[in-house]
Symmetry: C2
Subunit: 231 residues, 2 copies
């Protein structure tokens, strides 16, 4: 089992100091892994950032890989849930903007988590073999069904649900993962709240209009689902 945290074996509950140090280490590790990737981050730099001797890192997390797995595991917990809030009987004109806003907020507030996850995927997700399984596929399929239902009810245009989800994921995560290029493009040292607001507004606008939600809704009320199904 990959995501088990190995430390404090055989104790009822972790001591306060243990919990504090584990949090310190995990935060430092997140920062280092996000900045340099798995190989690029060193246990030493993590220790320095955490303000602890290197050996203590090994005391709490037996190996570098276990520490990385713990970081990943923490990220995954943060991850899921947002997309689950979308329900077939929601109003897409309300639910979609909320989803986009939530994802953008995540990119703004947890860019490190987003980047670590992105690097892991880019490398072929070697440490997520237990995550991308049959259950994940079923979960994804259940999410596409929401969009399919909306389309069938004529509440959005008949759009391939899987690719629409990929569009939502990529466009929002881009602001965390490619922040450096974005800053260079618009010539700013740091992105401001206004930048994130206008990014959210633009994306929402394009997606809503692109799904036929913003204007001429009646156009899709004929119940046509037609040619573009299946992901």
């Amino acid at each position: 089992m990959l995501f088990k945290i190995a430390a404090h074996r055989g104790r009822k509950s972790p001591s306060r100091i243990r919990r504090k140090n584990e949090q310190l280490i995990l935060s430092a590790a997140e920062e280092e892994f996000a900045r340099h990737g798995y190989k690029g981050a060193s246990m030493n730099s993590i220790a320095v950032r955490a303000g602890l001797p290197k050996a203590n890192i090994h005391y709490y997390f037996n190996s570098k890989l276990e520490l990385y797995a713990a970081v990943l595991s923490r990220i995954i917990e943060l991850w899921d849930g947002t997309l689950n809030k979308l329900k077939a009987d929601d109003d897409p004109a309300v639910a979609l903007p909320e989803y986009i806003a939530a994802k953008m907020r995540f990119s703004r507030e947890q860019p490190l988590a987003s980047r670590i996850f992105a690097i892991e995927i880019l490398n072929g997700a070697p440490n997520l073999v237990g995550y991308f399984d049959e259950e994940y596929r079923r979960w994804f399929r259940s999410r596409t069904e929401v969009f399919r239902a909306w389309a069938q009810q004529g509440r959005i245009a008949p759009i391939d649900p899987a690719h629409l989800i990929f569009l939502l994921w990529s466009a929002t995560q881009h602001y965390a993962d490619f922040a450096c290029q974005i800053r260079a493009s618009i010539g700013k040292e740091e992105l401001t709240d206004d930048d994130y607001d206008s990014a959210t507004r633009t994306l929402t606008q394009v997606v809503l209009r692109g799904c036929g939600v913003l204007e001429s809704e009646k156009r899709f009320s004929t119940g046509c689902t037609g040619t573009t199904g299946g992901g």
Copy 2:
């Protein structure tokens, strides 16, 4: 100067064997860097993949960093140009689909290049300091002007150009960079031509509709550019 290839100093033209070996090494390096990142890739694994002794890699490219710079440089050459084809007096209904199709084709045909670039950006682009400069910013600004012109002429809805470009970049590159997650999501071992076609179609549809190009074009012919300008 970062991107100069250091080998064959002081010769008029590289020999045939030199050129062949350099290509072998560059291709092998691309594969390894894309799979494991800069630190994660070893000169040894690159040598094995290229079918050459490790020392020869050092003979052609003095250091690992120089080899990596050469790989990056090759990618950048492939990169630019696509977005340059968009002109203010093009018809967005034609030019946008063409641009999306070109970017999707790139993700399909050069996924390794896309991934290496993505990893570099994710790590804060430490080796692209000479690339994301003032000139890059001016180039980007000139690209946003095309969209701004379209909006002013009422040919697309008044959408923030910078964020629209980011949307186009992220959504298309996603199919190269996150291919692994996409495969897991839709439950396929490999993405087919059909998958790429339907991805291209879906994205084109959403963007064109989202920009108000597909339907009710007259709606934006009032010359309103209004509230959403500026990147």
